[in-house]
Symmetry: C2
Subunit: 251 residues, 2 copies
């Protein structure tokens, strides 16, 4: 179960804003047992967004979360980039339009804006890639989008941290299942590499855990992350593997 994150925004590439969104998203995905393998940041440029999405999809992550660039200004072109990457059109969505209209009426009633009417800029946020499921923005105007491409679940979220976090919690995580996982990071000493894989596979069958492994260092160790629903289950799996001959070191 591996995941990738793409954040979009010129302000991230000029260093004017520190990208805390990707860390927040990464943490939530990791808690749910996803292994985030790559985070990429590109600017508000349709072609760059298209390219980076296609590159990510070619690596076949189970989940791809894209955040930023959904607002009303000319710079906000992420939905167009998503559509182009997937060879889809952008289409005006009545459900999104209605939601955006309601949002601005609410702001108007609160005295925060002078005019509640939909103008071109506001209407722009109601365009989603064909076939996308709309993700509700509970604290802002711009809706998100959910699409499935081959085996990848793609979520497109706003870049304002408040809006991103609300949409991640309310719309994304429920679509990824509700289980959360604890993690234990270990280094497995490789005395005989060919022994390792069968033991990991045995442990996967026997216990309610997930295992991520990646080659580390100068060939002596392999990094292992054990994910489980309880510390007890992780410990049982670890002991089982140790009894089978794997030597672990704590990271």
């Amino acid at each position: 179960m591996f995941a990738e994150i793409i954040t979009v925004g010129d302000e991230l590439l000029t260093g004017n804003t520190v990208d805390s969104n990707s860390a927040f998203i990464a943490q939530k995905l990791t808690e749910r047992g996803y292994w985030v393998k790559r985070i990429t940041t590109v600017g508000d440029d349709v072609e760059d967004i298209k390219s980076v999405i296609r590159e990510s999809l070619s690596r076949k992550p189970e989940v791809l979360i894209i955040a930023g660039g959904l607002g009303p200004t000319h710079d906000d072109v992420t939905m167009l980039g998503v559509a182009k990457a997937l060879n889809l059109e952008l289409e005006l969505r009545e459900d999104a339009l209605k939601r955006i209209e309601e949002f601005y009426i609410e702001l108007y009633k609160k005295g925060l804006i002078d005019d509640p009417k939909l103008n071109e800029a506001r209407k722009k946020m109601a365009y989603l890639p064909t076939g996308a499921e709309m993700l509700n923005n509970s604290v802002g105007a711009a809706p998100g989008a959910f699409l499935i491409h081959e085996h990848t679940k793609i979520f497109v979220l706003p870049g304002m941290p408040r809006e991103m976090k609300a949409m991640l919690e309310n719309e994304v995580l429920p679509r990824l299942g509700k289980r959360t996982f604890l993690q234990k990071k270990l280094l497995a000493e490789i005395t005989d590499e060919s022994k390792l894989a069968p033991i990991l596979n045995e442990a996967l069958k026997k216990f309610n855990i997930k295992i991520h492994s990646s080659p580390k260092g100068f060939g002596k160790y392999i990094g292992i992350i054990l994910f489980g629903e309880s510390e007890e289950e992780i410990e049982r799996a670890r002991k089982f593997m140790e009894e089978k001959g794997i030597k672990f070191e704590e990271v």
Copy 2:
């Protein structure tokens, strides 16, 4: 003049650490007139590091800055990833070894460590890709590396923010030239797209400026960043282009 940044570290992909390094580096590069087009974060995995460096080099940035994963532990495999990406070997460097030795003797004299001797872990940091120039780490043990691949200047820096910042200031920026640039971001309305490029080119010849442009929005505007050594020079260039028929909007 475009640049890319790669940050390395599992702690960034689990969300345990917010990647403030890339924002710092991006800011310094932007001030020097580089356009940072992409930031990528990967974990402490040799193959992932190798891949992401090769992908970046294929886009031919003028500058590629890589930060993180130079320390003494098994997890720190960035130099190996750099060497593999460039089809180079890692070689033990006497200049680096001497510098590392001195560093630990200093720590020992200060009473911060029990043993000043070089062990395998400390010695590991003295391996640099063949032909690399060593970059001095004025506040830590691990040296950095400077390599040139085709037209790309590659800098490899430590991930500890204090060490990264010192090496960036003292070793990287002087190798990029000392000029700093002011920036002005504008949107150019496209009344006739074919007119735009020749006018930009004329301005580039006539004034001491750089121009970055990228397509924005739904086709009506192109994002323009004017870089210049003074506000006056930027203003002169802007007025010149306006007189030639480009309509600008402030961002």
